[in-house]
Amino acid sequence: MTDMPLLSLAIWIPIFGGLLVLATGSDRNAPLARALALLVAVAGFAVTVPLYLGFDTGTATMQFVEMAPWIRPYNINYHLGVDGISVLFVILNAFVTVIVVLAGWEVIREKVAQYMAAFLIMSGLMNGIFSALDGVLFYVFFEASLIPLYLVIGIWGGANRVYAAIKFFLYTLAGSLLMLVALLYLFLQAGGSFSILDWHQLPIPMGAQSLIFFAFLAAFAVKVPMWPVHTWLPDAHVEAPTGGSVVLAAIALKLGAYGFLRFSLPIVPDAAQYYAPLLITLSLVAVVYIGFVALVQTDMKKLVAYSSIAHMGFVTLGFFMFNQLGIEGALVQMISHGFVSGAMFLCIGVLYDRMHSRNIADYGGVVNKMPKFAAFFMLFAMANAGLPGTSGFVGEFMVVLGAVQFNFWVAFLAATTLILGAAYSLWMYKRVVFGEVANDHVAQLDDINGREFAFLAILAFCVLAMGVYPFPFTEVMHASVDELLRHIAVSKL
């Protein structure tokens, strides 16, 4: 089993499958395109399952490694591998793709093949990002993944989609150009190697470390997104179709956070430690400031988008405290956020498909017409508020515990999310779901159908399973996170 190039399969099955779906062409073949897309997505997910089952939790070295020369003159290799930090994201990504295909099933009626293909190809590219161990390969995947998302927002998006798509594209592109400079510098410094693992061992003077740190920060902070480079996210979410929002929240935001762990922390540990107070401050601003901003949103999607920023603030906070609870808590939070924010956007999508409005004020009393939906939405809203027993609690709990170890006042500010998260999640829920039926449109709502029930139920299961028994998720991380912390502790000056 392990002899199979699982990571390559995880990357290329969705990409070639996506091209195949694209080949079905016009909307006359939409049913075929949908079925084929689901098949490809499930196959793509199936090949990632052995990654977990066959994963050796006892070692921090890269596993499922594949290595082949790619561009010999510059020593660029097709080098793939996963460790305890990245493996879960490959699986999460493949899983979310299945959900997204299901979510777009009937809702997307125009350019079905293209829509499905864009998501499949994006899924393959993102798997490439999480498993690339070569700087150039990483950069190619990193940049290429922008294109499908840009198209998804720009083509299937809402009224203001072009502004949002361009804002999203320019923001992220500007950041990653600086990263390219840093990658080239590291290539030269390493004596002509693009291997990320080689870079981890490279001694770098402090001045250069600082510059590299900020170059990476520019790329990753935009993706996360960290305050104050976050304003593209609410716009992108609002304009994106439901599937686009799900992928954006569940996977795309994780790319930046993953970049910190794969690049910033191990390659320039001294700079990372030196600038940690800055990053922690920005993270806390994200948690508190964005928490308040989320509270007053009138658009459901914007509200969840802002709550995503706040939750990702927890992630970066966890990273830069440099303790095991913090980093593992942040990783758990990333996975959980994948489930929960994905589910929140799906719930909003379910409402939007029926009412064509995201305005909280247009709703009220939805529970009277959609009791099943209300139950699911309640679960996910509670998970978003970090209720114990749901996945949303686990990461927050770990990061807060890690923060108290680090500094009580940091923990104090971080823990305000307990109040703010509940306030914005449940206040929205109250206004949308509870109460008397607010208007005639709400009165005509139908409860979720079998397909919607299926994907919400799958996500509900994930949210609860991770909340009740997170052991299997954290187990795979320990060795790699331990190794990372040991590595950071040694100066590279």
Binding site: V293, V296, G402, V404, F408, L426, V433, Y469, F471
Partner: protein, 738 residues
Amino acid sequence: MIISTYTMLSSGSKLALFIALTVLALLAGALLALNARRRLFGCAGARAVGFVGLVAGLPALMMGLSRVEMEMLYRVVPLAPLAGALIAGLFGKAVGRAGAHLVTSFGVLVALAASILIYVDVLAGNTFNDTVYTWMEAGGITFEIGFLIDSLTVMMMLVVTFVSLMVHVYTIGYMSEDPGYQRFFSYISLFTFSMLMLVMSNNFLQLFFGWEAVGLVSYLLIGFWYKRPTAIYANLKAFLVNRVGDFGFLLGIGLIVAYTGSLDYAEVFEEAGNLASLEMAGTGWPLITAICICLFIGAMGKSAQVPLHVWLPDSMEGPTPISALIHAATMVTAGIFMVARMSPLFELSDAALSFVLVIGATTALFMGFLGIVQNDIKRVVAYSTLSQLGYMTVALGVSAYSAAVFHLMTHAFFKALLFLGAGSVIIGMHHDQDMRNMGGLRKYMPITWITSLLGSLALIGFPLFSGFYSKDSIIEAVHAAQIPGAGYALFCVLLGVFVTAFYSFRMYFLVFHGEERFGKAHDAHHHDAHADDDHQDDHHHGLAPGQKPHESPWVVTVPLVLLAIPSVLIGYFTIEPMLFGEWFKSVIFVGDNHVGLSELAASFHSPLGMAVHGLQTAPFWLAMGGVALSWYFYMKRPDIPAAIQRRFSAVHTLLENKYYFDRFNEVFFAAGSRLLGRGLWKGGDQALIDGAVVNGSARLVGWISQASRLLQTGHLYQYAFAMIIGVFVLLTFWFNRG
């Protein structure tokens, strides 16, 4: 013969038999449940299976269980209600209404039976403290789900399962017309599960789990009638205020983990001495005080202590059975239980204990005052709950933990009784809750009347009643205490006795005695006390002119009677073991520097003696004074209260507005947060970041290109001139660089 065969079985096969019978019994419950709706198996068939299951299951349970079997039984206690909740919640349609109440009540009955067996086992000296499963490991800390079964736990288990069972039965009658019947049963069983997990925990993780889970169910139940704006406002408020408490609680747990590296009670308590000698990094505060105050902030949220009490009166928007179960008997006492459980930590910080004491005393007295001006029958009971929770907190503050837990137990019975009694009155009044429309109900609702009287006597601490023993012990402990704040606390609890008696009997006289004020044409004052317990699809409330109230059905009155028995008797029978005996000796720790209950223990001879002695003490006469005054005011001279109200209108307005806590919170916290959020959003995100920086840089690019367009004139001579100037400047710098 069967029994002798059973005793000869090996432990393994006993276990198998036990599991099989438990499953069979559960299955029988489910079959009975299904059958009630669908008649799948014929009535006789289902009864036979259920009967066999129960009859076969009981001897298995009655026989001495091995340790392994006991450990199985611990799991059964929370899981049986959970199973009921899941069946009623997820398959509510399939099992039907009767199915839902049967399966959930059966689950709680199983939990109660198992708790009794565990109680007997603990009485025999067997305790348990072990892990059920490892939730997670990270950062060198093991996060576990596990049980700690000792005398404190088992007492809480008995209270929770008993009151829960009573409430389940009562609900069958109370909610019989409600369309959300199955959902309601699912929620209250889920609550029972959560509460049991909370009290049975052996670690802080699971404690926090249960802590928030009961909060969730409370949220769901306060908002049970989700169409009513007041209900969905109240449940959001309850959740958020509790979250403020949980915020402190979480930080307290964080500090414990940071300094001891463990979440396990036993391990943390072993380290307690160390904690007491440390300072909190970066602040210079004594660590143990910081930990205890953080934990207590959690208790203030859950147990509704000033200033985090504001959610409890509003929680009366929920159906009355949950007011009894959650907002009187069990959930709100979680904070008291937690502090008692943490006595090895709190004992090390006098500052924290003083804080606890002052907060508790303030709650006990000032919330009592508010009970006097309420006209809604449920709200009177709600404020009395706040006040009694204050008494428990006071007991914690003076290190009389066992007295706090004792009062918790007696209060659970008599307050559940009073709430359910109020609910019965509300049914009789056709969902009118305004006491001004009642009066003289004793003729029409005799069982409700007698049981409510017994509950009220217990509440005011009439000698021999359960509340007397627990409240008097608290007052005596405050009297003996040396800790800063004890003088203020003594004043509060003594005056509180008078106030309690006054508002309790004001309610009693207004409802059950005097002129019959119901059935009249609805007058003006009916509208300001909106009927809080109105059902979702049931808009008529109040009695029609000429209509008489009627006694409630047996499912309502039987729980009242069953709760009245412990409300009267349990103090007499349990004070000696619980306060002065060995019962809590091994689980509650009182430092040598604190008096606790030792002075009271020295003077205690017998429960009867205490009652006789009680007749000669101030609390008794204060209580009697309260009763007499309320009789005079509300039976004899109803014009006096009105006159007082006019005379002291400022005080009355203050009380009517509940000391303006709600107003302050609305204006300062709620509106303030929204204002801040809008400011950050419009000012920060939109104006500054997007307006000035993002779109500003886009504009900047525009200006630069405008400007550079000016340079591109297309005239060759201008380019040439620029080039020459440029070369000249460069050369100048080049040659002068050294």
